[in-house]
């Protein structure tokens, strides 16, 4: 009995394949549109996951706790003297002052992120040089030296030069010399970044010597981050305390939001496709009606005809999945997800040139299958019931 059923299904599968081949133009057009929808969804899923993973890897090097001061919802400088108050909190290993700001380049219409800090003060500060493709981080005494991101160097169009100037708030020029360049592996965070000494950043933004924008707190035991953060909040109620897990979560939310927005747009496209498939599957041409009636007179049951439709849909959707997911992989790996960069990475005019490694769990593939193959099967097999119940006598004459 089992052998009979296997043989029967193989025969029906064989007929479904020949049926698709006979209507190859229609089958091919459905396959291509379906593959395109899956390609878009899979690309989005892959690139979001890859960005999220990449951000997670890079953010491991951020301080465990960061202090900022907010006023009317905007960040502002606060007294460096707060550092002394933190020194007394048990578990705080080191406090490093930092200036964090944004510089708008009116010529290139680009926004640069500027960080001023003395890397020698940071624990493992010497290891930061490993994030550079060349050169080294500026030391405390090295005034006017700066490390820049990959896109800034490209945007400044320096040619063979290693010097450039930025405007202070009073429109006087401040010269800089490039002492190093960030590696492209860290592009997601460093693409539009300039790192200079604390003194240079104060000079560039005209921040007084006793003020900073951030205090980076390093703790002795990472398991106590939350406890120490709470103690800092109690000691300095005027400052905002950000922990590394919170920052990581923020990045995940940002990518999640962007991905969700894009996914909704793509799901709308998928819904349109499924409606079209339903419409096509429920309409029956005279040739199709005649073929079904002939098959029924020849001894085919309604369920055999439904099985043909089912296999046709499985073949089309399976092929579309393979094509769509493969194309998405190629799109993300070899073309750096060129189609979605403006949506997913568009926080700056300088977009990171990332080399993304697609990361896709079995759950993601199942999600794509659930959103594409299952609606397509439903949209084609359910209306096929109507076509499979064409009465056999329509093959007879009058």
């Amino acid at each position: 009995m089992a052998q009979y059923n296997i043989e029967k299904q193989l025969n029906i599968l064989d007929y479904a394949l020949s049926s698709l081949w006979r209507r190859r133009l229609k089958s091919l057009s459905v396959l291509l549109v379906f593959a395109a929808v899956i390609f878009l969804l899979a690309s989005f899923q892959m690139v979001t996951q890859a960005l999220s993973d990449k951000a997670g890897q890079v953010l491991v090097h951020t301080p465990e706790i960061t202090l900022q001061k907010m006023s009317a919802g905007r960040q502002e400088a606060f007294p460096l003297a707060y550092k002394e108050q933190l020194a007394g909190i048990f578990g705080v290993r080191r406090v490093v002052p930092r200036i964090w700001g944004y510089y708008f380049d009116e010529v290139r219409l680009a926004n640069y992120t500027v960080i001023g800090m003395d890397t020698a003060e940071m624990p493992e500060g010497d290891r930061l040089d490993s994030a550079l493709a060349g050169g080294r981080m500026p030391r405390l005494e090295e005034a006017g030296r700066v490390v820049i991101g990959h896109s800034i160097k490209k945007g400044l169009d320096l040619g063979g030069r290693s010097t450039f100037s930025l405007f202070r708030p009073d429109l006087s020029l401040k010269p800089f010399e490039i002492s190093g360049e960030f590696s492209q592996h860290t592009d997601i965070l460093t693409n539009d970044l300039m790192v200079m000494t604390l003194a240079d950043a104060r000079d560039l933004f005209a921040i007084p010597a006793d003020q900073v924008t951030d205090l980076c707190v390093y703790v002795a035991n990472p398991k106590e981050i939350d406890t120490i953060a709470r103690k800092i909040s109690d000691a300095l109620p005027a400052v905002r305390v950000l922990t590394r897990p919170q920052i990581q979560k923020t990045y995940q939310v940002v990518f999640g939001w962007r991905s969700g927005f894009g996914s909704i747009c793509l799901l709308a496209a998928l819904a349109a496709f499924v409606i079209l498939a339903w419409d096509k599957a429920s309409g029956l041409s005279p040739e199709e009606r005649r073929e079904i009636a002939i098959l029924k007179v020849l001894g085919w049951e309604t369920r055999d005809i439904l099985a043909v439709r089912f296999w046709e849909s499985v073949i089309v959707s399976g092929l579309a999945c393979i094509l769509g997911i493969t194309a998405a992989y190629i799109h993300v790996v070899y073309f750096s997800a060129a189609l979605f960069r403006p949506v997913l990475m568009g926080w700056s005019v300088l977009r990171p040139e990332l080399h993304l490694l697609p990361s896709m769990a079995a759950g993601d593939i199942l999600l794509i299958l659930a959103f594409t193959v299952i609606p397509y099967l439903a949209a084609t097999v359910i209306p096929a019931w109507r076509s499979a119940t064409v009465p056999a006598d329509s093959a007879l004459g009058g």
């Binding site: 052998q3 029967k8 025969n11 002939i294 007179v297 020849l298 001894g299 085919w300 009058g398």
Partner: protein, 225 residues
Amino acid sequence: MLIELSEVSKIYNQGRPNEVRALTDIELRVEQGSMVCLKGPSGSGKSTLLGIIGCIFPPTSGRAAIAEKQMARLPDRFLTLHRRETIGFIFQRFNILPELTVLDNITLPLLPLGVSPMERKLRGHALLERFGITHRARFPAGQISGGELQRVAIARALINNQPILLADEPTAHLDTVLSREFMVIMQQLKEAGKTIVIASHDPLVFEHPAIDRIVTVQDGRINVP
């Protein structure tokens, strides 16, 4: 009796405004190995009668026993199962699928029976050889001549070796030569033991010497001479 109809009536759309009474109180008996012609003009009810004998649909009332099985009020699925074991069909215009090859058309009834591809090929080729069209096996059916098409239709009706062969106006679109050729093949099949019922109003069919009995259908009733 291989086919036995008693007081069979068929009403389409019963109880609706477009109700049509196609057959009324049909009494028909066909012995095994005989050839019967259902004669009558278009719209007389020949195809409906053929549909009931062919287990395509059950009668509205009356008893219909085909190959010793009562067909009346059997669900569609059982009608299909009985049909594919018992009855081979030859349609008007032959109803061949033109995009499929000749061999695939002939073996089409075997697919839902779970017959292996090798077995299908063997049985298909045996019939192609019997009807002298082996050279057309791989041709799309839409590209062969009318005479070859006719033989493909007969071969398809015989592929599962069913005891009953039904033909619905088989010569309606054939010239005289091909019509005569068709009847020669039917005669050979009758001699081989097949029970054949042909619905036709073509004199080349009902006047053929191999026909054992002519049943005249008129306005849904059988006219007894």
